[in-house]
Amino acid sequence: MSEKKQALQVAALENGTVIDHIPSDKLFTVVSLLRLQNSDLNITIGNNLPSKKLGKKGIIKVADRYFTDEEINQLSVVASNIRLNIIQDYEVVEKKEVQLPDELMGIVRCNNPKCITNNEPMKTHFHVVDKENGILKCHYCEKEQNKDSIKTI
């Protein structure tokens, strides 16, 4: 109930998605991963809001838009504790957590400067080999790397 109240402080959403518990320094990475900068939907972005868990957090509300699991799961690369609230008719009808998917396509850059993906105009491709520890393996150069050490595209 109190979560709903806080959501209402920013702007009431009739239908859409609230992306909550985004670490403040990752807010704009999340915006760009979801390509919201090019969207003409009604979007409210808040940052540095007080959070019990994170100290400060970012929040994004997108009206009339529901994300696929694939879109949501790529966010796990930047922050594993992001929560999504699905809103219909002003009510939270579903809560979702992000999960590291099995494959990451075109989301993160390979750390290996000698990898073909850093030298050709092509999509990167990673296999998630260890979800618990966030270990990714480049499909091309086969180097294993930790998700915390790699940059998004």
């Binding site: 290996n112 000698k114 990898c115 073909i116 993906t117 030298n119 050709e120 105009p121 092509m122 480049c138 499909h139 091309y140 150069c141 086969e142 180097k143 294993e144």
Partner: protein
């Protein structure tokens, strides 16, 4: 069409590896044939490599194929800024197979995804070099009569040496015991030791290299300790002579021991070892021809039966 490219040996099952070694054996019996008559093999060497290229080109020629390609990327359009994809697409119009060596890791995988014809990886940076692994396996099988339950000693640069990494992964099917002999700076990376643990492969690490450490070896796989691999040149000076194999070190070794080396050697095997019947590195290089003949046929979908049948002609 199913992509029959050879990018890494790690994708091959035990059965597939043994099948291809069986093919290599047929080519050893009769290396000159016409089984690839009318085919064009392109050898694209974006990074120079004389011996691998000569071996592949000899394999193609001895099977009746024609060879096109380049061995110096400076003379090609990639120096004008053409992407790898464009080069591969262009050459795919002309050839039936592309054999490629590239300095970037993952280049062969990417090429195999964009090309309509099979790609054979002849080395992609520090990543994979599967034809070397096939010839190493063939050499081990031929000299030991089996691939199972062998004591394999790897010596020298185990950190950057891709040949030892690929061989290690390919041997997982055959219950080997590995001994890793290297200076601290060039130790087998944790990644591969974890791989051994995961696959129940036994291994022992040593920093000493002497007649006592190697006396139980069936295979002694020597590699070059390269100066440019060291951040600390003092360390290089200290270890460079510690990993040289000398004739007198073979005194206690088993009679079936064979010494392998991917070549080129610099000074890590002293010349007096060449006299020993246990030295096998030059025959090993010749086995590369048969292994590569098998690879060229396999990526084109030619089967062992086809090769046996062809051998009767």
């Amino acid at each position: 069409m199913e992509n029959r490219s050879l990018v890494t040996i790690a994708e091959h099952s035990k059965e597939k590896i043994l099948y291809m070694l069986e093919m290599a054996k047929e080519f050893e019996k009769k290396p000159n044939r016409k089984i690839l008559d009318g085919k064009v093999v392109a050898t694209l060497f974006f990074e120079p490599s004389t011996r691998t290229r000569l071996s592949f080109e000899t394999a193609a020629n001895r099977l009746g194929a024609r060879v096109i390609g380049f061995s110096d990327p400076k003379a090609t359009s990639s120096s004008k800024g053409e992407t790898l994809k464009d080069t591969i697409m262009m050459v795919s119009n002309y050839a039936d197979i592309i054999v490629m060596r590239h300095h970037l890791e993952g280049a062969a995988r990417y090429a195999s995804e964009v090309a309509p014809i099979p790609i054979v990886n002849a080395g992609d940076g520090a990543n994979q070099h599967p034809s070397q692994t096939m010839l190493d396996l063939y050499s081990i099988l031929k000299t030991q009569g089996t691939l199972d339950n062998l004591n394999i000693y790897m010596v020298g640069d185990l950190k950057y040496g891709r040949t030892v990494h690929s061989l290690l992964m390919a041997m997982r099917h055959f219950n080997p015991t590995f001994h890793f002999i290297a200076p601290d700076e060039l130790k087998m990376p944790d990644e591969y030791k974890d791989y051994c643990k995961k696959n129940n492969i036994k291994y022992v690490e040593h920093t000493d290299f002497n007649e006592e450490t190697i006396k139980d070896a069936d295979i002694l796989y020597m590699t070059r300790v390269q100066r440019e691999r060291f951040t600390d040149l003092m360390e290089y000076e200290r270890v460079k002579d510690a990993y040289i194999l000398r004739y007198d070190m073979l005194r206690l070794t088993k009679s079936n021991l064979r010494i392998l080396h991917p070549l080129p050697r610099v000074n890590e095997i002293s010349y007096d070892v060449d006299e020993s019947p246990k030295a096998y590195y030059f025959q090993q290089a010749l086995n590369g021809l048969y292994a590569r003949q098998a690879i060229l046929c396999d990526v084109l979908g030619i089967t062992l039966d086809d090769i046996i049948e062809d051998g009767k002609k």
